[in-house]
């Protein structure tokens, strides 16, 4: 890690809807922001501690209307040149501005990094050192946990696979350089060109899926829980307004978790449908049940579905006990049928929000939406910021890896000697490694020795 380059991060919590501040700190912060900002004056020409009005641009497209505050070194929090950008366009726009900054040469800050710099530059009192160190280590562990959690199995596989390919090609080149009498590189650049193009296109696919949000599990992690056939899948379908889950009246139809991203009044929810929870001997179903219980920990909000046409039984009680300390909305489903449970009783018993609901008549849907919105704006429910930061960092790593691979193509085109290729190949390898949290160590030497027969 570099300790003096220019870093950026979203400085405000992501929950509070529209407005957010992005902070940039480091030697190049003014020139980096200047490259994406257009106002009356260039920031580099503006006085310190002034606020400039203008727009953030992505090439010729306006991304957001912003206020920019300039704090030149050393009169800033970190004692470096610091820029703060007040954005107005909501979470997606913040994310976009952040990625523009990264493309312009900034790096997403590590947990606690602004504070660390402030401290190292003598800005913060000694007495706070201990807490800063704790912050750094606990946050980075959390973010590591998150980044691993974030990586779906398939994404992880793609990256591991890509890295392996890159390492193999590098090891091939290096073996030929170490042992030129054993390995010949004639005609190799053309072959490599093809392979690197393939790698770039699979990275492009990844970048696109990050951007379109299909992998990016942003927003409020909302878990739908309930015993089998309480109507969880119908609820997911109602909320996402399409047939995502297979709905049948056979209990236990949803055996794995299903996910859907929806937006309610501008708030992004990542809804996870789970298998119905009950005591079961079916091995496959049991896996789904265990998974559902496991995911309770990571949920920001739980929609607990009760079948109001049946009395509360031990399966319901079992679930309730697991979620008492979480933010919960209890839905009394099937309000279109004859109800045997009353809203009032349930509220008294569990002290949670209770809503009568019907996936058939859509009774209660509006109330559910407004309750979620209220909980969000009251700060009762919020998403995990570190998750978001992790995502941005991963996206930035992908972009960096792609740029490095493009450099390889340029070197091939310019007919540079082969040893130049491995420099950029290894850069790409390391960027991808940052996503999966792998350390570099002696991968290359190991690969050379294991794949290529060398020596005397």
């Amino acid at each position: 890690m570099n300790h003096s380059d220019t870093i950026c991060a979203i400085a405000t919590s992501l929950n509070s809807s529209g407005i957010g501040i992005i902070r940039v700190s480091g030697e190049k912060s003014i020139s980096i922001v200047d490259s994406i900002f257009r106002g009356k004056n260039k920031l580099v020409d503006c006085d310190t501690h002034t606020i400039q009005y203008g727009h953030i641009y992505d090439n010729e497209n306006i991304v957001d209307e912003v206020l920019v505050m300039i704090m030149k070194a050393p009169r800033s929090y970190t004692t470096e040149d610091v820029i703060e950008i007040d954005c107005h366009g909501g979470i997606l726009v913040l994310k976009k501005v952040l990625s523009l900054l990264v493309n312009a040469g900034a790096r997403i800050a590590e947990p606690g990094e602004f504070t660390k710099r402030a401290f190292l530059n003598g800005r913060i009192d000694l007495s706070e050192a201990e807490s800063i160190m704790d912050l750094i280590s606990s946050n980075s562990e959390l973010s590591m946990k998150n980044s691993i959690k974030q990586l779906s199995g398939s994404l992880n596989k793609i990256i591991v696979n890509l890295r392996d390919k890159i390492l193999y090609e590098t090891a091939y080149i290096e073996s030929a350089l170490d042992d030129p009498e054993h390995y010949d590189l004639t005609g190799y650049p053309n072959e490599l060109d093809k392979k690197v193009n393939e790698m770039i296109s699979s990275i492009d696919d990844l970048i696109n899926s990050f951007n379109s949000g299909h992998i990016l599990k942003e927003g409020i992690n909302t878990l739908i829980l309930g015993k089998p056939n309480a109507g969880k899948s119908s609820l997911l379908n109602t909320l996402s307004r399409r047939e995502r889950a297979i709905v049948t009246d056979i209990p236990g139809t949803t055996r794995d978790t299903l996910e859907e991203q929806i937006t309610i009044n501008g708030i992004s929810l990542n809804i996870i449908d789970t298998a119905g929870i009950r005591q079961t001997d079916d091995i496959v179903e049991k896996i789904g049940v265990d998974k559902a219980i496991d995911s309770i920990d990571d949920a920001d909000l739980i929609l607990f579905v009760l079948d109001s046409s049946r009395p509360i039984d031990s399966d319901d009680e079992f679930i309730i006990n697991k979620i008492m300390d979480k933010k919960v909305i209890i839905l009394l489903n099937k309000s279109d049928l004859v109800s045997v449970i009353s809203e009032e009783d349930v509220y008294k018993k569990y002290n949670k929000n209770v809503i009568s609901f019907s996936s058939v008549s859509l009774d209660g849907l509006k109330k559910l939406e407004s309750t979620i919105t209220d909980m969000f704006f009251s700060g009762d429910v919020h998403s995990d910021d570190t998750l978001y930061i992790t995502n941005s960092r991963q996206a930035a790593c992908l972009t960096n890896a792609k740029n490095s691979l493009n450099n390889v193509l340029v070197s091939i085109e310019n007919m540079m000697p082969e040893d130049f290729f491995s420099i950029d190949l290894m850069d790409a390898y390391n960027y991808l490694g940052e996503i999966t949290g792998e350390t570099i160590d002696d991968d290359l030497a190991n690969k050379i020795f294991s794949e290529f027969c060398m020596g005397k």
Binding site: M133, I136, D442, C453
Partner: protein, 627 residues
Amino acid sequence: MSVVEETYDVVVIGAGHAGCEAALASARMGQNTICFTVSMDSVALMPCNPNIGGSSKGHLVRELDALGGQMGINIDHTFIQSKMLNSSKGPAVHSLRAQADKSAYSLRMRKTMQDTDNLTLRQAEVTELIVNDGKVCGVKTLSGAIYHSKAVIICTGTYLRARCLYGDVIEHTGPNGLKAANHLTSSLTANNVEMNRFKTGTPARIDSRSIDYSKMEIQLGDTPVVPFSFSTNPDDVQIEQVPCYLTYTNEKTHEIIRANLDRSPMYSGVIEGTGPRYCPSIEDKVVRFSDKNRHQLFVEPEGLNTNEMYIGGMSSSMPEDVQYAMYHTVPGLENCKIVRNAYAIEYDCINATQLKASLEFKNIDGLFAAGQFNGSSGYEEAAAQGIVAGINAALKLQNREPMILDRSNSYIGVLIDDLVTKETKEPYRMMTSRAEYRLLLRQDNADIRLSKIGYEVGLLSKERYDHVVEKERLINEEVARVKEINIGARKEVQALLESYGSIPLSNGIKLVDLIRRPELDYDKLAPIDPDRPELSAEVREEVNIYIKYEGYLTRQEKQVKQFKKLELKLIPEDLDYDDVSSLRIEARQKLTKLRPANIGQASRISGVSPADISVLLVYLETYKKKK
């Protein structure tokens, strides 16, 4: 009973490639030095391959030479064939490799040692270190003689408790049947030095008269030959060279090996030491790369005064009869006679993380170590460490700061940093891919990188240093001049471009842009650059490289700047990592064990995360302020 008792400044144990460089450096820096060898006939012995240099190893020799070492000069006088490897690749991976006349190499080094002031070469086995209060005070030899000294450098190579094996034959000797050193290990363990056991191997030597060279491909040396040493006049190395030969194993060879694997001590479990993966025995190659139906073999002369030929690529620990059978399957070796058997050798060495980057032990003051004893392999790796240990022992006695080479200025720095920072699980070999700034660490600019250091420690002569300063000045001046030159689309320009198959100009262009075209270079464009001053080949080469690869070089220079920032953040030697509560447990244990000298080194320890480094930075800041 009275024993011999003598006093020196520095004792060097071993006169292999590390020991010779260490002893020469220390003596030349004015320290009264004694160098012990188990046999006067094994000074600078090359018990394995008959080469000096090769990919990345050639870099080490050049660097050693720039510091004022002997290896480059010695091989320039005793080589019998020479090649620049990778000459069609980028300048960073060009590497010199020479075939040595082994006995000439050894004899010349012995004489150099014996002719050096302040240096005593002595045949005796050192059996014991004398350590008082964590400080080394001398050594004892087998006869009981005591040699007092203020510093000791251990360069025991592969001799410590060595045993040589092939088939079920085990000989308790060092390489080539030389006496093993069986006592020193226990003295080291008594002083809490942590030992490892490694193994390596060597192929058979074959009588040249029994080889049919007509079935092999001939391999000739380069003309002209490029010398290793910056001090050697290129005219002096244009000698008549001897050829090497190339042949291959085949399925028959592999069948014999597979059928007899159970008779190899490697596979029967007799060998305990860890062997190198990059230099596998032929058994290993056949087992690990079973899809390959042949392996290359290089048949190389061992010298001008012997008929022995080295069979590179076929080291083995198979029994004698199997060795005959497998060598006889190789084209050209059908009737070959073995002069010396192939064998594997096991030896004691240390975990080098016990050393500082100066190669002094962290726990024993004045005790240094270099070479294969530190877990490396190769003559060049050994010599490179030897000179560093020798220089630092001398500097210590002169109360001067140690010379620390780092990853940004030399392969030697990379080598030592890897050895003292990462726990090496097998004999360590240099590779260009280990050097992250290799574009800057070229064999052609080793003198520019290191002569100043060699001169300042007092090893390199003023004359040689002045030459480098002047060379650098000429390079900078010429680069600046060339950058200003514009070339018009004149007729002679177009003709010159055409003659090299380069696209003609439509407009004027900068000369540097022409030099950067892949089919052109600085020298080729001389005819259209009339104001060019007359410059030596070494200066022209640097100018060309600098201009051609400027973009890449600048990029690496920037990375080096970042690197340096962390290297300069020193960690106090007495820092107690248990006080840094936010460190993860694994990191704390590793840091406590390795005690890195600076933040940069700490960040390269496996198991220390970037977050741990951040924590450490914050802690160091508070530590500094409290003091």
